[in-house]
Symmetry: C2
Subunit: 619 residues, 2 copies
């Protein structure tokens, strides 16, 4: 049917004159009809090319509910199903679709010019646990906190309709429908509009690698899945097998919708290594092409960021060099190396990471593994990155996965010392990469972020619980795996904003604000050219020296991950350097009374678990 970047061409969409265009892909059907719930009317649709069914009608009004009735070619009963491209499932995945009118919202962000990718300071939040209320309205009320912190982009964990009201979002089953319990699509539009008014970009996490297990009726419509590949989460989405054109278009339409109709600035595409596509044009490259077409139409910039566990720069290379053209990727390896420096035991996937040496490698080369043998993966892994732009990479010391995929979902604040938290934060903000923090990190939130679900299928609930238990067999943990289905698991995972009344938490917040402000103001720290970066490891002392420069300006960051005071000899003349930030200073609740450089016999003395940021301008 082809994609028109100017408007959604699938599902139910209202025209200027108030009539609705309805279109659905159902190549297995003998007949498809639209059933309008309120009026009880059923309208037969017309068969188009390539298995699409369509109808233009004025019999359905905005916000009325509808379903599709499908009579399959193979016979059997007529089945009634919600619209795979539904915009709103007011009663959840098991209810009918709502004829939401995307054009209803009055946008006031016409002046919004966006944030350049290199200036992204990302705050990842989960709508349900970010606030006590757990919806988009409540997120809006906290935006001022984020603005004050210095955040430039919020990243919202997936909002596609999932079963129940408690879920990380990766079990979404209606990729176009915004979660009812969060406030649905209207509230998301409102949130984005408000973000833009406050100068915040919005990144939306979207899941194109699988469809959630409960309420998933896609197979009744067409070949959305393929058995050619296996994924950890069940059937692989069909991006390259027979019937894949419609599936590809479905996801391209989805990406375009968020940008065009919700004014989302960037998508974070979940686990794209699990998107298996051996077509000559990878689905990500095709999404990029259409995103650029939309950009030509709207004049706005749209950004595509991928979560990627492959150390393969074909994802982030430009299409002219036969890459997929993604703007940036996450690098978990930076996190893993950093956590091991900070005392994380080298078990499970952490076994691959060798403390400061690997952190230094990541500062220099982004990928830690770029061809070496990985013991955990049991094979050589990765290739070197061609691109030297640091804004191609997103780094973090915590994120929803790294916190929540621990058995008990412990945040950094309950795993390492207060001082070490500051060291880890500095490691992220002083990097030549895009920093991301996970909600609550900025005040050393100690509540856990655990894995929670709210399914209604009892077998599935048990399977998820068993899967969770199995997952932690490689790690040595004390205690029981929390029950994901229990509401208490969800409640326990909410942020506790009242901690901000306490001086210690206020101190951490001030520290984060200072780090962010420093990164923004300092030309060296905001220069993300990786050619202007070097790093040296001191493995015995568990220390690291990070050097960055731009023109005649220089930054040195000294990290002491050990619990001892360490004296480091560095190959830099010590005279003339200014201390920009000292994490062990009493102003951040540390033990050091002033922020002067302590030099002992020509070596720099570093407090236990501390960092120092030094600055010098050459003359």
């Amino acid at each position: 049917m082809g994609i028109d970047v100017q408007k959604r061409n699938i599902g139910l969409n209202f025209n200027e004159n108030g009539s609705a265009d309805i279109r659905v892909w159902a190549p297995l059907a003998k007949q498809v009809s639209v059933s309008i719930i309120a009026s009880g009317i059923t309208l037969e649709m017309f068969n188009e090319d390539y298995g699409y069914w369509c109808l233009q009608t004025d019999k359905i009004k905005p916000f009325e509910e509808y379903n599709f009735k499908i009579e399959q070619l193979t016979g059997g009963e007529v089945i009634e199903r919600a619209d795979p491209a539904s915009l709103f499932q007011a009663d959840g995945p098991h209810g009918p679709s709502n004829a939401f009118d995307l054009r209803n919202f009055l946008w006031t962000d016409q002046q919004w010019e966006g944030i350049e990718l290199k200036d992204f300071i990302i705050y990842e939040l989960h709508t349900g646990t970010f606030t006590p209320q757990g919806d988009f309205d409540a997120v809006e009320k906290k935006l001022d906190h984020l603005v004050a912190l210095g955040i430039t982009a919020i990243e919202i964990m997936p909002v596609a309709q999932f079963p129940g009201s408690r879920n990380w979002g990766y079990d979404g089953v209606f990729p176009f429908a915004v979660q009812n319990s969060y406030g649905g699509p209207a509230a998301l539009q409102h949130l984005v509009n408000t973000c833009h008014a406050k100068g915040l970009a919005v990144i939306l996490d979207v899941v194109y690698n699988h469809i959630g297990p409960e309420g998933n009726c896609f197979a009744d419509f067409g070949r959305y899945f393929t058995d050619k590949y296996h994924t950890p989460w069940g059937q692989a989405i069909n991006f390259d097998d027979a019937g894949s054109d419609a599936v590809r278009d479905f996801y391209i339409e989805n990406a375009l919708m968020w940008f065009r109709d919700f004014h989302i600035d960037a998508l974070r595409l979940d686990a794209v290594h699990a998107i298996k596509d051996l077509s000559p044009v990878h689905i990500l490259a095709e999404i990029k092409t259409y995103t650029e077409k939309l950009s030509m139409f709207t004049g706005k910039t749209y950004t595509l960021i991928v979560e990627l566990d492959l150390n393969d720069d074909r994802f982030i290379r430009a299409q002219k060099t036969h890459g997929y053209g993604m703007d940036a990727q996450w690098i978990d390896e930076f996190h893993h190396a950093l956590r091991v420096c900070a005392g994380q035991e080298q078990e499970g996937y952490y076994a691959d990471f060798n403390r400061v040496e690997d952190l230094a490698k990541s500062y220099r080369d982004a990928y830690v593994y770029d061809g070496q043998y990985s013991p955990h993966r049991e094979k050589k892994f990765g290739i070197p990155v061609e691109d030297t732009q640091g804004h191609k990479f997103v780094v973090f010391s915590q994120n929803h996965d790294q916190v929540g995929n621990r058995m008990l979902g412990e945040r950094g604040a309950t795993l390492v010392s207060f001082e070490m938290l500051k060291v880890m934060a500095a490691a992220v903000f002083c990097s030549p990469f895009l920093p991301l923090i996970f909600m609550g990190e900025e005040w050393a939130e100690s509540n856990p972020f655990q894995f929670f679900i709210n399914h209604s299928d009892q077998k599935l609930i048990e399977a998820v619980r068993e899967g969770r238990k199995k997952e932690f067999s490689a790690f040595h943990h004390k205690g029981e795996v929390p029950n994901p289905q229990d509401e208490s698991t969800f409640k326990r995972s909410k942020l506790d904003w009242q901690k901000l009344d306490q001086p210690l938490h206020q101190g951490m917040l001030a520290y984060y604000m200072t780090l962010i402000a420093l990164r923004k103001q300092n030309e060296v720290l905001s220069n993300l050219d990786r050619k202007n970066v070097n790093a040296k490891a001191y493995p015995v002392k568990n220390c690291l020296l990070l050097k960055r420069w731009k023109g005649n300006q220089n930054i040195i960051v000294l990290f002491n991950f050990s619990k001892q005071q360490q004296n480091l000899s560095i190959d830099v003349e010590l005279q003339g350097w200014t201390v920009l930030l000292d994490s062990s200073s009493i102003i951040w609740h540390g033990l050091k009374e002033d922020t002067n450089l302590i030099s002992v016999n020509g070596e720099i003395s570093l407090f236990p678990e501390s960092i120092l940021i030094l600055f010098k301008k050459d003359v």
Copy 2:
């Protein structure tokens, strides 16, 4: 362990001093030993890094038999297995390995300079059915016939050891061992040496996408297979999962061995679309890299040709543009379009091909599908080719698959008229691509080439037979599917060289010789730059006009695929053209008494089922 292009570094290899280096990958083993059959000695091997076991010993002499004894980490009985990298299985896949000495053969081809890829005229042969004897010695005796025909490269269907003595070769289970019933490795070395003496290059068909079902003990050694992907022939080879380094090295060593130790000029890699590898460096690209390294070492040129069903030029693009660097690929689509022009019913995969229009497309663009919707594949298929070098593509009107994968294995000679055979041959030899013919085609052999096996596993025999029956459900055929296991199926598939005594067959042979000679001698026909090609279809008349040029020389080839005489108006001034070849001339047993151009009212008149090759030099 790393690959040394100068020598084989896996399996059993003799050193200069007569001792043997033995190395095997068995990461699941607690202990691996070598059992020397004749002397009854068992020698414990040493555990190296990455699960390799090795031993240097003078206890085994060239051509003695041996096995590995494996005690697994998981316990259980000690199992005895042949060497996965065995060079010779004198008693077939179920017997022990033979300590073949690769260096034993006295090569006399030091002066061999190879054939440039663009000059390849390829003759595909199956060793078992090419001659009555069915072995390499017998192939050698027929080389003079091929030289006289004008062939420059023979392509030998796979010779890796398979079960029994009758098999196309795609059920090979010892990728390094040369089929015992063909004469084993010594006879292959001898054949290649003789080919080079006669000026023939040798292409060897190798299978890197699966391992045959009978006698396959690879899983006892290590993770040679992965469940991440599905293939039509069982488990996918593990090129990117845990443990894949050793598997990749195994196949790289294999490619290098054929070039280095058997003096093979080119490999034809079977069905590489079924090699699933999502590593940053595809296994084909890595094979290319090592092949180039070997080339630096020996000073010889080695060519990699792939069978590919993907219309994705990343396989044939250079590595500097992030391609896999393969030198050429097969294009079945040219064949399919040509066969449909020649009257093949549009059923099964032929349904995608629209006679002369698609043949003209293939002449112009190589790929027929370069982004269009393919009804048979039920999706958009392919991308345009960037490269304009015609020698990137191998074309044919018949090959082992296109003949043998018909239910009855009918060759062209029993499906179309004698005149149409000549038209199809001209379509291939006048193309700007590399021509390939299938053994016997040159004299219009009418014996079938059917699918045959000689397994010993009864269940497998039945499964193959059932699979064969199922495969033909999409085609309308009369008669029974021949039983692949029956020896008569094999015998019936042998060439009948006695037909060459008959004038009709002699005539076809002369026609092929003339076509090949013309292609070699004429500068336009041997110019494979696709920028100098155009083609126009006459759909109603089922005719086609092919134009080629180089400098001031021009060739026109006119094809009439219809059974009627056709008059064509062409956009070329008719004066000054010479007829180079007329397929309907009586000299090729046609009906036309002379070879002059017949012009009727300014239109060219074409005999039914005929071609005309015209030449003109501009002044």
